[in-house]
């Protein structure tokens, strides 16, 4: 078995005295698409926040390429190739689209290739290209989500963490975003770890699934196994 791209083991995390994650472990292989399913409040966003180095874990360890990551901070996780598209997009509202993209590349040392990457993601998201000088706060919800994804990609991640990118968007937009993510995964080999309420769509592009229930991983397996499981279908797919 090859070394996984990323592992997080025995994570315990929470906010102020309330523990949200209890002993959670996840693994993502190179190029893999993994989805974390779970109800509201199961701890999905907390998990991604910990993985991105935003929320300090109380316990647990991380490895990238089999090597332990010592200090956990967003800028260090980015340098290890782990980038988060946060829930609610988190675009820098008063900055232009272009500046948002540039901020996304702050963690990189190869400044020269940044502009080329901006052009690359503008060609993937032409609507952002049209609005490059516009203030991010004036974009529509779908455009802001595109910007959040493009900005996260500007760090050249090997693993992109996506927190509920379908939230509050029209179905046709969501479809497009997932299509784009699938292409990015196929073309750049960027691994994806998706947290989704829209389980149907996520299962379509994912190869592996974790089920998170009240802060515990209660099941994991391939996407086919999950699609075939009647209780999962009833609980998360609604048919």
């Amino acid at each position: 078995m090859s070394t996984p791209l990323f592992t997080a083991e025995n994570l315990v995390a929470g906010y102020g005295g309330a523990t949200v994650l209890h002993d959670v472990s996840v693994t993502v292989d190179e190029h893999e698409v993994v989805v974390v399913l779970g109800a509201n409040g199961a701890g999905k966003s907390t998990l991604l926040s910990v993985l991105a180095g935003q929320l300090p874990a109380l316990q647990g360890s991380f490895t990238v390429d089999g090597k332990t990551v010592g200090q956990i901070r967003p800028d260090i996780m980015l340098q290890h190739g782990i980038s988060l598209v946060p829930q609610g997009r988190g675009t820098l509202a008063p900055l232009s689209v272009l500046d948002n993209m540039r901020v996304g590349a702050i963690s990189r040392s190869d400044r020269r290739e940044v502009e080329a990457d901006i052009d690359r993601w503008f060609s993937v998201f032409p609507r952002l290209a049209e609005r490059r000088d516009q203030i991010a706060g004036t974009l529509s919800g779908g455009e802001q989500q595109m910007l959040a994804i493009a900005r996260a990609l500007m760090s050249r991640p090997r693993l992109l963490l996506c927190d509920e990118i379908s939230l509050g968007l029209a179905p046709v937009i969501i479809q497009g975003l997932f299509e784009t993510l699938r292409e990015i995964n196929a073309e750049s080999g960027t691994a994806l770890l998706l947290v989704e309420q829209n389980a149907q769509l996520a299962l379509d592009i994912a190869s592996r699934v974790y089920l998170l229930e009240v802060g515990h991983v209660t099941a994991s397996g391939t996407a086919e196994q999950f699609r075939a499981d009647d209780s999962i279908r009833a609980a998360y797919l609604g048919y």
């Binding site: 991105a52 935003q54 967003p74 800028d75 980015l78 340098q79 988060l84 946060p86 988190g90 675009t91 820098l92 509202a93 008063p94 900055l95 500046d99 540039r102 901020v103 996304g104 702050i106 963690s107 400044r111 900005r151 760090s155």
Partner: protein, 299 residues
């Protein structure tokens, strides 16, 4: 016409001074949403440093360099070891810390250098015949110089914010510190640098402005009025906008010069009151100022 013009010139001169200190307030406010009431005292302390060096025979334009460095270190240290630890626990307590810095630094100045006024060397050309005449009104060289320096500083800051990576990171932190951190911006480092930059600029401004504001000498009260006018200017402009600080500072300077000149009973001792009235009215009517993006929800 002649009198009007000379009043406008005088207003633009003091306005430029307000702009310089207002810019320092803006740099800090943009990144950490805090009005640094100790800004004037940073400027005063470092101006004493400049003066102390000139007393040792160093030319004032050379003496200002180490003072700017001292300013940078003071600002950075204040953010890192005073403001940040307190802010973590209580937003509003930051205000008290700034006030403590205000009185503490002023006391320190007096303890080190004494409370008697010092003759501070003029950095800008001045003298009997050093003025040009425009439509009968005199425009002194030092006025021209301070206005030019102010615009140069504004130009430099604008370039810094819009063209450099650190400037971009400062804007990102100002917009949304959590998101900026997720993009890999080291938010703490950016805050420390903004405070350092701001205090360094106030070290430069302090030495320039001391000879230009009454009483024209370096004393312990030298920055009180300037800080109040600069705060009014920054608020008028919107606290987080460089352009706002320029418009606010010049507007306030010229406005006050005209009010002082034409509305007899408001002249002289009342001009500080006028500035404070401006502050109160802005807070009531338009808390975001003329160009500000954010509401003044936490100070």
């Amino acid at each position: 016409m002649e009198i009007l013009l000379s009043r406008v010139f005088a207003g633009a001169t003091s306005g430029s001074i307000y702009v310089l200190i207002a810019l320092c307030l803006v740099i800090v406010f943009r990144s950490s949403s805090t009005i640094n009431f100790a800004q004037g005292e940073f400027a005063l302390f470092t101006t004493y440093v400049t003066w102390w060096m000139t007393e040792r025979g160093i030319h004032v334009w050379l003496a200002i360099v180490p003072a700017i460095l001292v300013g940078f270190l003071m600002g950075a240290a204040a953010e890192r070891w005073l403001i940040r630890p307190v802010k973590k626990r209580d937003e509003t307590a930051v205000l008290i810390v700034a006030l403590a810095l205000f009185t503490g630094l002023n006391g320190l100045d007096g303890w080190i250098w004494g409370s008697d006024d010092k003759v501070f060397p003029r950095m800008l050309p001045s003298g009997e015949g050093s003025y040009i005449t425009i439509a009968g009104a005199r425009l002194h060289y030092d006025s021209i110089a301070i206005i030019a320096i102010m615009f140069a500083v504004v130009g430099g800051l604008t370039l810094f914010f819009n063209r450099t990576s650190m400037g971009l990171q400062m804007r990102a932190v100002a917009a949304n510190p959590e998101s900026a951190a997720l993009c890999g911006v080291r938010v703490g480092r950016v805050l420390t640098l903004s405070w350092g930059l701001s205090a360094a600029l106030s070290a430069f401004a302090g030495a320039l402005l001391i000879p230009l504001v009454p009483p024209g000498q370096l004393g312990l009260a030298g920055m009180f009025h300037v800080l109040i006018f600069a705060t009014a200017a920054a608020l008028l402009g919107g606290l987080d906008s460089v352009k706002g600080a320029v418009v606010g500072g010049l507007g306030l300077g010229i406005g006050l010069a005209l009010v002082n000149g034409y509305v007899g009973f408001l002249g002289g001792s009342m001009s500080l009151t006028v500035a404070l009235v401006v502050i109160v009215v802005i807070l009531l009517v338009r808390p975001t100022g003329l160009f500000g993006a954010r509401r003044l929800e936490r100070v």
